[in-house]
Point group: C2
Amino acid sequence: MARESTPADVSPAIRLAEAVCAVIADHGLERASIREVASEAGVSIGAVQHHFRTKDDMLVFVFEHIVRATTDRVRQVPLGQSIAQNLSLVLRELLPLDATRQREARVYVAFAARAATSPRLAAVQAETLAQITGQLAEVIERAGSQGKPVSTFLLSARDEAALLLAVADGLMFDAITCPDNLDPGRLTTLLDAYLTRLLGGF
Amino acid sequence: MARESTPADVSPAIRLAEAVCAVIADHGLERASIREVASEAGVSIGAVQHHFRTKDDMLVFVFEHIVRATTDRVRQVPLGQSIAQNLSLVLRELLPLDATRQREARVYVAFAARAATSPRLAAVQAETLAQITGQLAEVIERAGSQGKPVSTFLLSARDEAALLLAVADGLMFDAITCPDNLDPGRLTTLLDAYLTRLLGGF
């Protein structure tokens, strides 16, 4: 009992999800077996199987968990003065700018890659992209009432949102798969340059 | 002998690499074992081990093979009238616009995700990103002599190139991990909208 370092009110499934993320971030998704996760979490294989009947069930739960962690953080972002500032603050939460976001992005890329051959993970990825794109499209629509007429955009708000998310995802992907290439300072410079180009200034 | 459908002059290692790509595109990278590849290629496990001493050797060879296939195709792109047209034609080769490029992009994303936890694959990814970014930066530099002064870019040519590659990689990543979201028509519309924004027109 004295060795328990995680708060007692965190659900055991969430604690296991954190153990899965640690295995994936350090060794890749293919190492995230029920056995390896039990070892990482310091519990028995049976304890993991009590929460997740199959490895597939475990992976879907953990993908949803990591997406929720990111969207919860996005919701807590203190908003700024302008649309460009707000989009920058929100999208920075998707970029690997510190140890937490680096780990999250590594796990996210591993799951998204796996979604290409797993229908259940693909469903989580589809829901995630639709939700973020919808939120970005709303903000871009709103830019019309703050000086940037929507008619000056090249695309519909929905397409502008999909392109903007692709910019953030591409920066994240290139940074995670090649960390020396894009450090945090360069990532935010490139993101903000795109937003300046989109919205005409901050 | 009569059943041999691949040209005899294709090296056996390349034929095995194609078998590895087929396994990865259909079932994910974690299924690409020496045993599974031997079965896919219709050869013995020993025949695979004759070419690749370890699974790691095999994966590095195949990652280099898939990158080479893309860059070879890029080199054969017939160039157009303007810088924007040429960048569009080149970057379309990186997007999953047909069955070949879809398969290639799925395999590429799987390898790039694995590069986050594999130093040897990370080296291939670093070399790939550096090479493509360098080539894009040269084209962007040249835009200065064709009407778009380099001084009107927000960033250095190298940073503009990194941002442009992130746009293409992000579109590719979002399309591969969520195919219904971004069909080929929408992918090229979004890419060309970005190039219009960057270069002021086609």
